[in-house]
Symmetry: C3
Subunit: 400 residues, 3 copies
Amino acid sequence: MPNVYDVTDWSIPGSSVTCYTDLGAIINNMIADIKVQQPTQASKPGAVIYIPPGDYSLKTRVVVDISYLCIKGSGHGFTSSSIRYNSGSTTGWAEIWPGGSHVRVENTDGNAEAFIVTRTGNPRLSGIEFENFCLDGVSFTSTQNSYTNGKVGIRFASDTDSARISGMGMVYLEHGLVANNVDAMSVTDNFIAECGNCIELTGAGQATKVTNNEIGAGFHGYSIFAEGHLGLLVAQNNIFPRGKDSVHFKNCSLSSITGNRMHAFYPGMITLEGTCPENLISGNHLYRQPETYGPFQSSNNGLDDLFGLIQINGSNNSVIGNHVSFNVAAGSITPSGSTPTMILVKSGDGNYLASNHFTASVSVKTVVLDGSTTNTHVLDSGTAAQLQAYSTSYGFRATP
Amino acid sequence: MPNVYDVTDWSIPGSSVTCYTDLGAIINNMIADIKVQQPTQASKPGAVIYIPPGDYSLKTRVVVDISYLCIKGSGHGFTSSSIRYNSGSTTGWAEIWPGGSHVRVENTDGNAEAFIVTRTGNPRLSGIEFENFCLDGVSFTSTQNSYTNGKVGIRFASDTDSARISGMGMVYLEHGLVANNVDAMSVTDNFIAECGNCIELTGAGQATKVTNNEIGAGFHGYSIFAEGHLGLLVAQNNIFPRGKDSVHFKNCSLSSITGNRMHAFYPGMITLEGTCPENLISGNHLYRQPETYGPFQSSNNGLDDLFGLIQINGSNNSVIGNHVSFNVAAGSITPSGSTPTMILVKSGDGNYLASNHFTASVSVKTVVLDGSTTNTHVLDSGTAAQLQAYSTSYGFRATP
Amino acid sequence: MPNVYDVTDWSIPGSSVTCYTDLGAIINNMIADIKVQQPTQASKPGAVIYIPPGDYSLKTRVVVDISYLCIKGSGHGFTSSSIRYNSGSTTGWAEIWPGGSHVRVENTDGNAEAFIVTRTGNPRLSGIEFENFCLDGVSFTSTQNSYTNGKVGIRFASDTDSARISGMGMVYLEHGLVANNVDAMSVTDNFIAECGNCIELTGAGQATKVTNNEIGAGFHGYSIFAEGHLGLLVAQNNIFPRGKDSVHFKNCSLSSITGNRMHAFYPGMITLEGTCPENLISGNHLYRQPETYGPFQSSNNGLDDLFGLIQINGSNNSVIGNHVSFNVAAGSITPSGSTPTMILVKSGDGNYLASNHFTASVSVKTVVLDGSTTNTHVLDSGTAAQLQAYSTSYGFRATP
């Protein structure tokens, strides 16, 4: 079948490498073949590379420098490596590794990435798809609970348009997906967990969506990070611990964080850092409790309870109709004796907070307004006693 | 291709069974083969079992006791069996059965399930995927409108993690998907309708999502049921009639019902039963009208109009920004002459209802507070006359 | 493999046509073969037709008149043809056309459609799926920026149930998807852009969902249009410019527009036309700015800034928790010197607008009530000065 490649049915002339010994070298050779088969500018439809279920080792970074390449497997293959590594003896276990179309990221080429998407010249790369296989970083260093090993699952390095990441599994990578300067990327229905960082949208971009995923990063990394984005839609994700943040925007504008469920062990669940104007945070469920798992109880993201579960930097944002549950014993609050902050408006003019509901195990400030803030509107988001306003420029209506 | 199985290309040594005569026996034999092919703990990636479009009979229950098994077809194959069975003669019809990768659930082995996922020992099963095929219960007993036949499409019986159900069609089963003690399951983009019950998440679990599905159960069954779940995200589903409930939570906490469209023929569209604290119900569209289809007009879920379209049991829940349309003629209200209840807060402290909009064909109580409730906040969710408070412990602000 | 067809491995007896010279003739011949293979009413499971990555020309319209047909590729193949056509010389470009499973719509049969789904008699067609291939209209006439060429990607012409459109790419068609009288259709995770119109649901229908898509139409066409629908769920789409409207409902009821991100260059982003009762518009992010791209700065949708970014015609609708950003220089407002309208309630009784937040570059009216409107409720959606009420029948509470 033309333009359909199977990694288990490919060899490199003069080489003994197989998909099992170095999947990366095999796929790079396939991409070279695609270029040979599609020599003319007027007909470059790309190809599909299929990775059947199996255990593969990737030792050479794959360089995707053609548009329309679809790399797909038949199984996201996620299992918890964290539970295994923290379980003591596993000699009696049925299986010990992730599976499905299971790619062990074991670069020996000096590169961090399993896959890098990059090309110079025009046009930018378009229509690249990663679907339904497993990228497994295998182990962390120097301890299995460090969430560091320098490994990256997929990096988009040059500008791209209309890429799609769906049905993937990623585990035990320091960085799952790093996408620089992407437009209109779709990241949907993936399982990206037990990674140092899960999804990082760097540089700038617009009209991307991160939707309908299961996500949970390490204690010092981002579950979802976005920088310089406009019109990003982060919706309907189930974001579980840990994660330094559940969702972190840096200098993003006109974007949405909507209808997500978030569960965290530290303050700083949603952070709008730098200059973040005109974003919408609505219909989310936020739950903060202390770390529940012994091996990680000595770790955290370094933030104290005055940071805010939500912290806003920027103007004219909307925080509407969110539910916030805070369940931390008084003795575990930091700084000791302080009253925890649920939403901190740290800077900006004209922010609007309405119909947010808070329930807490201790007395909290539902909304804190920094002295620098102006013209904030706080409606039905707590009692007068729950508002801490260091500014005098605001409108307030207490929840009746 | 290693680890890729095709049910139409498999036979059992010494047996005349085929995928057409007993798909279950064939798949069980494949699973046995996978175990033989993957004998060592260190390499068990699983496999994909492909079911091409076709009509298959399943007579033996499939037991999935390996991780990372992906069972997939090429067609959800849903058609309305209810319309056909209630249509009189169909001799002139082009086709009469569901199709696609069409599995008739016709167990002769004494088991209820077409598929059961279960294993003892460690670790729990992970990464199992069901995708894009049709599970058809064929007929109900003793009448086609009973929605009972004892059949179960897929049952997860032992603990699992990160399973995925997507693109499936299910029809005419008494229970479509029953999942016990699942964590982080993804149930997305399925068509599960004309089943006694569609999706039942039993036991306990966390971080599961039920998103982006088309769903509609029988008159005495659940469209979506969840028990003992934490952090469940039920979002963006189109839930049509009938269904005893659209979404029913029993002893669930910290979960979300967000952005769904629900259409029902009876009271009790969203029920939080037992002890259900700190859940978020937001951005949903609820429409209640009387049964429209003759054959079912004598059936209902047994609840009267005082039960509430939404009934809350538990504390600190949020009901924010929902639209409720009630369109029942005065003469059809039960108990006769009563004023229907839209939202009943039946128990609990600190529930928060804000910005809900109600439109009704008769005079209604938009919010009723049971005498046992305390500290409820009702904001912009009807007029003073539309509030019925049997408690004195509440805050209220009428819609201006 | 039974019922599995590959377009690259099929020929028509006595004909030299191939999938590359006329994909439509090939698929029609396959459908004819499916009918021969599945002659009896009791066993018509349908089939899957696979389109591998490649460049195909479609010259004959495909008529899908069997249920359960799944047509799928391995690549949505979208790239921006608009950028290319407006870029001057592309001689140095790596590639110039869309790709993936890339179907050029080049009918020579006098028909507008690449695919039409239609059948007479009973039952209506069910369970048809289009998945993960590219429909490319190639060019517009008479200029590449006209967004007109008469071409239609897929038209559903007779009643259907439970169809699914997912993972598709569509580009440079005057009409991408036109679906008449569909019930319970799922349109999810598609990339439909640079089409005159993207998604048009005509006639009537119920329980359909349009979710999780990337969408952007031409300047005079609809990104999402729906007519006569009940219980339609339009959710979690990233709808970018241009598009005459982002979402346009005509005579639709009891439907939802929830959690979408919308970006537009003209007024009229969400329009409820005709008689549209009891719909929910919630949790959306709307951003309006002037056209940013030179080649289109002389084009627009013909509406002025008094039309409303949201215009409501009909009763008992809910507009809750939306964020609206308006960024147009004073000198570019039309009619010149007027105060732009954000939400216009043009007709109807009992509409409910709550917790909407507006930020604007100029002084605006956040809500305008037509003189014909009655009993509108406007809560926390602007100041008293930002309300323009030509009616006296309304309730109002200013944002504090």
